[in-house]
Amino acid sequence: MTFIEDQIRQTARKYLENDEVSCVIGYERDTRGRSRPVFIESVDQVDRLVWGPDCNLNLASYLHERKHSPGKDQPIPKTAVVLRPCDTRAINLLINEQQVARENVRIIGVTCEGSEINGSLRVDCEFCQERVPPLYDDLILTELPVEVPESADPYADINEMDQWTPEERLAFWTSEFDRCIRCYACRQACPGCYCFECVAEKLDPHWVSIALEVPEKMFFHVMRAYHLAGRCVGCGACEAVCPMDIPLGKLNRKVAKEILELFDYRTGDSIETHPPLVCFNPNERLNL
């Protein structure tokens, strides 16, 4: 048990013992040694909770009832959830969009040393300056102070991509989306995707063909990136769950960069701020 795991378990125990929550959502290790989400509902199970760089989902996405459909007529349970700093930004977003009520969630925020996908540190984490969650009920500390990377351009790879010709960009993304199997894992793991019926699957009207071919796959991903404009927190869950290793984070960071430049807006700074594309601000002036 690590220093962090000890604190997570103690916090979970506290919440369950006090009956403050009915469930703690965190990570456990399966018999094969891999991390996976776990729903702890009783005190005697809290020692299953673990922490590590491979705990790379955003557990906030388990908070929307609509996506996970616990069944009609069930009260929304009070839940504690283990989150990284970027993950907690999603809570701000979800509260702002009235998908989650603050009083129903206890945030066990973990001081973050970065998360890994397939054993390598995520691009976002390389430049991330935010190691302490902007929102938490309990702060989990690291044993040693976390080294914050020196300030560097977090969008270096995006700037590089921006230099490509449109043909080069199209060729790159066509090749990436070619291997997409339209499994929707990216969408299902995303805290910002909670539509009851996704446009990609809606039958009436039928916007997107059911075909699993490049145009549909590209349409789906680009549409999702647009729907997440100013709403993506950069948690990387989409990329972590993608069975075909498509660099979805790159697409989302491209949009995040545009939003930052156009609106000086970063998702999830607080409960009060509305994503710029879903609200109207008469004083808004774009520097186009």
């Binding site: 039958l203 009436d204 009207p205 039928h206």
Partner: protein, 280 residues
């Protein structure tokens, strides 16, 4: 050898011969196969269904609402609820559609011979029951007393209203109508079909019941029938489920290991009770 042109797997073309308003947002579509052989060969039992193609939209299953014995016009009722039914509503006499079938098992009419029959129809659920009524009327001597309980949310949602007189004129037939909420001057019953059922309290002796309607109505009708002394094996139901293929391939309609499309849609309620998954 593989028959790639089987009408079970490839639609046969049929032309719309009539579109009748049955109720608010419910139409009866009357079609006839273009191919004379298909007309002859397409014989079906009450309770069977067909996959109807609206070209450019897709296919959906519809319970056949006509009796195969009454001619080569095939009828089914359409409730405007989704894309395909919306598209069907836009079609008119002379337009072509596709039909695959007949699919499913149908009611075992032979087993019902000599028995008293109680029919419970809810809303558009009355449509697949109509061929049973027609068959009984066409062979009146083969069956016992026929009691029809017909329900809808409101009077404008009752289907086949123009046929009630004909049905009731037949010997040994009783018919009762009920609506959830009756307007002023409504001469029939008010309330749920289960209330009506309790009031009529049909004898269980040598009787079978046949129910079709929304899942929730079937659930409560079965509870009421049990209360009135009916055994599960006296009660027959026809179930609905989302389907694509209608021939047990696409994996959409199973309730536990039972495929509604091939093993149903008609079931004895004693079988339904054995399903691992609830039909509601």
């Amino acid at each position: 050898m593989l028959d790639t042109n089987s009408i079970l797997t490839t639609p046969g073309l049929a032309t719309i011969k009539g579109m009748k308003d049955l109720a608010d947002n419910i139409k009866l579509v009357q079609v006839r196969f273009d191919d004379p052989d298909a007309r002859k060969n397409f014989s079906y039992a009450p309770g069977q269904f067909a996959e109807v193609s609206v070209f450019g939209v897709g296919e959906s299953p519809f319970g056949l609402a006509s009796s195969s014995e009454r001619g080569d016009i095939v009828e089914f009722a359409v409730n405007r609820v989704g894309t395909l039914t919306e598209a069907l509503f836009r079609l008119d006499v002379g337009d072509q559609i596709g039909l695959r079938g007949p699919l499913g098992n149908g009611f075992p009419m032979d087993r019902f011979k000599g028995k008293n029959i109680v029919i419970l129809g809810g809303g558009i659920g009355g449509a697949p029951l109509r061929p049973i009524i027609q068959t009984i009327l066409d062979h009146r001597g083969d069956y016992g007393k026929l009691t029809i309980l017909w329900a809808a949310r409101s009077p404008d949602l009752l289907v086949f209203t123009d046929e009630y007189d004909l049905w009731q004129q037949a010997p040994d037939v009783e018919m009762f109508l009920t609506v959830d909420k009756a307007p002023a001057g409504w001469p029939h019953e008010e309330g749920l079909i289960t209330t009506l059922l309790e009031k009529i309290n049909p004898s269980t002796d040598n009787t079978i019941t046949i129910t079709c309607g929304p899942p929730i109505m079937i659930k409560f009708a079965m509870m009421t029938l049990e209360k009135l002394g009916f055994q599960p094996d006296q009660n027959w139901v026809t179930l609905e489920a989302k389907m694509k293929c209608g021939i047990g391939k696409c994996g959409r309609c199973n309730m536990g290991g039972v495929y509604i499309c091939t093993e149903g849609p008609v079931f004895c309620f004693s079988e339904v009770r054995q399903f691992l998954e609830s039909f509601v």
